[in-house]
């Protein structure tokens, strides 16, 4: 019964979103107030219906209803309850349901927080979101129905992919999708503005907090995925340039460009066309990411659900979205005014260079991700494009971008004074140079790459701190929230860069053969193997190692890496044990038994400053959230509310 209710709600949601997508749009064109007024209730109904449908699916999972095919494929009675819940989005159908739920959630959020916006604008924005949802819901209902019954019901489910049985599954996909799908709001604002022909600074101001919020979720989502891969996959890497990682990274890069160009459009009314194009690009890349992951064109760590026939549908959807929005753009763009003038040396130019570099970076990742697919499709052989390629082409683009972070915020709008900027950067320059010379030597050995990384990190961090100090002096100890947000995010990048540099340059790795009692030293720490014993789990059996971590003879703690054999799968799973610290992680993972005497191959890593990578990402996201809550976005509400009063006064 529950699955039928869920299915029925899904169909009703489809109807609601059809109304949300079509009627307000027509109403806005014809100035029909009743149809315009439909947008909000339709968007909210759409969200509630999808939430109900989602809850039904979750209930089917929790109740082990194996008469639902999707549940039978992705769950098992032995699976702990929390994973039975998270398994809702562990497969293809459910993750799409989560996708549209997020989309409708963003739509509902727009509908309740947009009282200060013109009704026509809101109607158009919600309609565009509705139309996107129509496409995705049709996709779900016609090709990927999560409620399809399995008759006769399976006696037992075939279990969730063991790689996914991890707390990471509970948080990573929802965060990632929040970000991915959130760019739909930026896209909808851009399309609504194009339809109305009113591309102005107000439009940029309205869509800015939404874009930044989506960007923050995406940042957190990607960081969590990276951290998950780090501790789960057992090789201690944090980023592999895997196509699926790239699928989320491309919208992030485009979104980063977008939040910067929105700044120009809001403050100076310039580059509206370019900003609109970026908004279209960011969301298209999100859809492309969904296509890459969900169609199964990739075979990679993350692509679990694959069914080529479904790919065609998403590709079609992608084509319709990109094609129609570009056509609309080509029609409207020539009529858009150029906006305020500015000199060659100005914040506008700095932000444009930022945009060019970010777009080139996005393009490079896109090229590297799609190239092997293209070559394969053309029958030119099979090719792997991996980390060595991306590091080679990505770093030259990113280094000037990082250099610019310290400089850009110093530049004034319209016209900046180079000499003044140079004066204010002098101290940062000296500090960065010193850091480049000294820090690598403190860590061990000096290499050009680590020197460059340390230099960049200190360059950004010190310039950021000096700018805050300057501002506080001038502003009498206070500054707007968005100012703090920007600098916190930039500071986060410095932290991130330092983490990447130090762990890349100074990590130690050892592959050893260990028997009980053996000791391995890494990074000044000693790990002694106390025992390796068998231990049962809820749906697996594990070999659990007990390692004693010590430094200079003082025991710090014991670590328990595991090797798990899930009953439902052949692949053994590695659960690394990590002693995380502010300045280093000690990482132990069990390899395999080597002989009858109980010797195992063991891999240990010493990873200096690795947590700074994710810490930096969190700072970036925190900065973004601060910016979202800047007073001026809320002042707008008060100003609009008080307008009639002041008009009569």
């Amino acid at each position: 019964m529950t699955p039928e209710l869920g299915h029925f709600a899904l169909i009703l949601a489809f109807v609601a979103t059809l109304m949300q997508g079509v009627l307000p749009l027509i109403g806005a064109q014809r100035s029909q107030a009743q149809w315009i007024a439909l947008a909000r209730p339709a968007a909210q109904t759409h969200f509630l219906l999808l939430a109900f449908s989602f809850a039904c699916l979750a209930q089917s999972f929790l109740a082990n209803d194996f008469s639902v095919a999707y549940v039978a494929q992705n769950s098992n009675t032995q699976l702990p309850a929390i994973y039975r819940f998270a398994a809702v989005w562990g497969g293809h159908e459910g993750s799409l349901l989560l996708w549209v739920l997020m989309l409708s959630g963003w739509g509902a959020a727009v509908s309740v927080t947009s009282r200060q916006l013109p009704e026509v604008m809101v109607a158009r924005v919600l309609a565009v979101l509705g139309l996107v949802s129509v496409g995705m819901l049709a996709f779900i209902l016609f090709t990927s129905n999560p409620f399809a019954r399995l008759l006769p019901a399976a006696a037992e489910g075939s279990d969730l992919n063991p790689l996914l049985q991890d707390p990471g599954l509970v948080f990573h996909p929802p965060m990632l999708y929040m970000g991915y799908v959130g760019f739909a709001v930026a896209f909808a604002f851009a399309i609504a503005a194009l339809i109305s022909g009113r591309l102005d600074a107000a439009w940029a101001r309205w869509s800015r907090p939404w874009t930044t919020a989506a960007w923050c979720f995406l940042t957190i989502g990607i960081a969590m995925g990276s951290w998950w891969a780090y501790y789960e996959l057992g090789w201690g890497g944090w980023w592999f340039w895997d196509p699926v990682e790239n699928a989320s990274f491309m919208p992030w890069l485009a979104g980063t460009a977008l939040i910067h160009s929105l700044a120009i459009t809001e403050k100076r009314g310039a580059f509206k066309n370019w900003t609109v194009l970026l908004a279209i690009a960011a969301f298209s890349l999100s859809l492309l990411g969904t296509f890459l992951v969900r169609s199964g064109v990739l075979t990679s760590v993350h692509a679990f659900a694959s069914d080529p026939s479904r790919g065609v549908f998403i590709l079609l959807l992608l084509g319709v979205v990109i094609g129609s929005s570009l056509a609309l753009f080509a029609w409207r763009a020539p009529k858009v005014s150029a906006g305020g003038a500015f000199a060659l040396v100005s914040r506008e130019t700095m932000l444009l260079i930022n945009n060019v570099l970010l777009v080139v970076a996005t393009g490079s990742v896109l090229l590297g991700t799609l190239y092997p697919l293209l070559i394969d499709a053309l029958g030119l052989g099979k090719l792997s494009v991996g980390p060595p390629y991306f590091n080679t082409v990505f770093v030259p683009v990113v280094v000037p971008l990082l250099m610019l972070i310290a400089v850009g915020p110093l530049a004034r709008w319209k016209q900046a004074d180079l000499r003044d900027m140079a004066r204010r950067l002098r101290l940062s320059f000296v500090l960065a140079l010193l850091a480049g010379i000294i820090l690598p030597q403190l860590m061990g050995t000096w290499t050009p790459m680590t020197a460059l990384g340390c230099l960049l990190a200190v360059w950004i961090a010190s310039s950021t701190v000096f700018q805050i100090v300057e501002r506080l002096k001038i502003g009498g100890g206070s500054a707007p929230t968005s100012f703090w947000g920007m600098h916190l995010a930039h500071f986060g990048i410095a932290v991130f860069v330092l983490g990447v540099t130090l762990v890349g340059g100074y990590q130690e790795e050892k592959d050893v053969r260990m028997q009980t009692g053996d000791v391995v030293s890494v990074g000044g720490y000693q790990l002694r193997l106390l025992s390796i014993s068998a231990a049962p789990g809820p749906n697996y059996r594990a070999s659990v190692g007990e390692f004693e971590l010590s430094k200079n003879g003082r025991v710090l703690k014991t670590l328990h890496p595991e090797k798990r054999q899930y009953f439902s799968s052949q692949m053994p799973m590695t659960e690394a044990a990590i002693d995380a610290g502010f300045t280093r992680d000690i990482y132990v993972s069990l390899g395999e038994p080597l002989d009858q005497q109980g010797a195992w191959s063991v891999r240990v890593y010493f990873k200096p400053f690795v947590d700074w990578i994710w810490g930096g990402c969190l700072l970036m996201a925190a900065g973004g959230f601060l910016a979202v809550f800047d007073r001026r976005y809320r002042l707008r509400v008060k100003a609009a509310a008080s307008l009639p009063a002041s008009a009569t006064a």
Binding site: W235, S300, L367, P396, R513, E592
Partner: protein, 157 residues
């Protein structure tokens, strides 16, 4: 008691072995650190063909373990990195390399980002220059500006 020396030797041997087992520094899977460094560098460039997108350095699959052993052997035989990579490509094809070879079918791949960068910066310069040429003259002339300032001063008082 002729057996004593033998027994003593046995004891010594047992103690040695036991000592080796119970307090020993774990034996690295490789004996030479320089070799290990090269092994990691090479195997990070190679794809583990039975895994889902993992390098031979990272993977714990049997194939990856075997290949690491094989590369270690080849390093021991004095082969250069180049020769080892060539051997792997000869055996498994270009697919095994994470750094695609530069050849006609990958020119676009390797050249693309740099063409994009050059094109992007070129477009930026072109755009900025055109925009500067087209930029409208200041909205107020110098005289008007002074007049406005004077008006503002008046209103202040």
């Amino acid at each position: 008691m002729r057996r004593w020396p033998v027994l003593l030797m046995l004891f010594a041997l047992v103690a040695l072995v036991a000592g080796g087992v119970f307090a020993g520094e774990a034996a690295p899977l490789a004996t030479n650190e320089a070799v290990e460094k090269r092994l990691m560098a090479i195997s990070e460039e190679l794809r583990c063909l039975v895994c889902q997108n993992e390098s031979i350095a990272g993977s714990q699959a049997d194939l990856a373990n075997d290949l690491r052993r094989e590369i270690r052997k080849m390093i021991g035989e004095g082969k250069t990195d180049r020769e080892i990579l060539d051997f792997m490509v000869a055996r498994y094809g270009d697919f095994v390399r994470y750094r695609p070879p530069v050849k006609p079918s990958t020119w676009a791949l390797w050249g693309g980002p740099f063409i994009l960068l050059a094109g992007g910066l070129g477009a930026l310069v072109f755009f900025l220059r055109r925009r500067n040429r087209m930029a409208p003259p200041p909205i107020l002339s110098e005289e008007q500006r002074r007049h406005a300032a004077a008006l503002l001063d008046q209103s202040d008082t």
